[in-house]
């Protein structure tokens, strides 16, 4: 009873929440996930993940280990060969798209569009999009909203995309290399944006190679090896206490070439 009451309250607050939304369920639950692009060469093999709200998780691993593939599966860009994905208790489907805010590794925006048009685009598509927040962040980053995307530098394009993605009130944020191409000052701003939009009902998954930079921001981490196997995962601070090493040092040790 309690659960259904909570669900009703949640639905009242966020009318766009899809049917079947269960606030008590894990934000993300993957069971026995398999995916391969070439037969007999699995990228993800029987992967299991359960992620609760209020967590910022770092998904860390060498190039080509399947991090982006996992995010693409969860966001629905790719379809798993087998296994299930649930978001807030709802099987992955079009309905769950309203719960997920995805920053892909590459931009999918049309380069002829102006930043202004992209804001409209997001307002049209996502009921949870906070336009005022997006505008404030863009002005903090000194991005001209009348500029066409193709006139912006790589870093500025990435900033625009990240601002739009973070301006949604989603339950699950999937950020694929959010700070890779931006300057250190913008990196600080972006990380503080991620911290600032922290919400106990939402979870954030970040993939990156800049472990040192995001280390203080992470609650939990998972080291992903080839074949999508989770080699090591846990609470970031506990590992530091236990091993006497930073995540960055541990990563270099686990994945020594």
């Amino acid at each position: 009873m309690n659960q259904s009451m909570n669900a009703a309250m949640d639905a009242g607050r966020d009318p766009w929440l899809p049917e079947g939304f269960d606030p008590a369920a894990p934000i993300l639950s993957c069971v026995n996930l398999n995916k391969s692009y070439i037969p007999a060469r699995p990228v993800l093999h029987n992967l299991n993940i359960s992620l609760t709200g209020g967590k910022i998780v770092g998904l860390l691993g060498p190039n080509g280990c399947g991090k982006s593939t996992l995010l693409k599966l969860v966001s629905g860009i790719l379809v798993p060969d087998s296994g299930t994905i649930e978001i807030c208790g709802i099987p992955r489907s079009e309905a769950t798209n309203s719960l997920i805010s995805f920053l892909p590794e590459r931009t999918y925006f049309n380069s002829w569009m102006r930043v202004e048009q992209l804001i409209e685009y997001f307002s049209d598509f996502f009921a949870d999009f906070d336009e005022a927040m997006a505008r404030k962040m863009l002005s903090d980053l000194s991005i001209d909203t009348s500029a066409k995307l193709k006139t912006l530098s790589k870093g500025n394009k990435e900033k625009v995309q990240l601002v739009l993605v973070m301006s949604r009130r989603a339950r699950l944020y999937l950020l694929d290399e959010p700070i890779g191409g931006v300057d250190p000052a913008a990196r600080d701003y972006i990380l503080s944006t991620i911290i600032g939009s922290y919400n106990p009902d939402a979870a954030v998954i970040i993939t990156t190679h800049l472990i040192h930079d995001i280390e203080p921001v992470l609650d939990e981490f998972a080291f992903m090896g080839f074949g999508g196997r989770i080699l090591l995962d846990g609470v970031a601070d506990e590992v530091r206490a236990e091993k006497g090493k930073t995540l960055d040092e541990l990563f270099r040790e686990v994945f020594r070439c």
Binding site: G54, K55, I56, D188, L191, S192, I195, G196, Y198, E215, P216, V217, L218, D219, A236, D237, E238, R240, A241, G244, K245, T246, E249
Partner: protein, 143 residues
């Protein structure tokens, strides 16, 4: 500018040390209100859960006291502040001893070194070293 977390210790413990140092160093004065977990997490550039964990430790040490809905304040209890000073002393010594041991300096040599340093640079009249830095002359005008 986010705080720097250079040591390998858990981040929440590094935050605790930093805040203790800020209190003892006068950045926060006794009875002063402390920013909220979220605000301070933003300033420090850390996860709010991590900041919360640090706050829990400092509350257990009674350095932070909660006044109902008003928020958290720095204690005025001199005994508690003295205890925090003791923790800082311990941490500083531990760091020093560890660093010295790494290059083969024994604690006894450290103590000796500290005495010699104190004689050449009395703490109260610590003057900027205008002459050759790092090489204090054996016969200082003081003492």
């Amino acid at each position: 500018m986010a705080w720097q977390f250079s040591s390998r210790a858990p981040v929440y413990l590094q935050i605790c040390s930093r805040i203790r140092a800020d209190i003892l160093g006068g950045v926060y004065r006794p009875d002063e209100q402390i920013p909220s977990v979220r605000q301070l997490a933003l300033v420090a550039g850390v996860n709010p859960n991590t900041m919360q964990r640090a706050f829990t430790v400092l509350e257990a040490e009674q350095l932070f006291i909660t006044r109902g809905t008003l928020g958290r304040f720095i204690t005025t209890d001199t005994e508690v502040l003295e205890r925090a000073r003791e923790i800082m002393r311990h941490e500083t010594v531990a760091r020093l001893v560890e660093e010295a041991a790494a290059v083969g300096i024994t604690p006894a040599e450290l103590i000796e070194g500290i005495r010699a340093y104190e004689e050449s640079f009395p703490a109260s009249e610590a003057e900027p070293t205008t002459d050759t830095a790092g090489e204090p002359s054996p016969d200082t005008p003081h003492t």
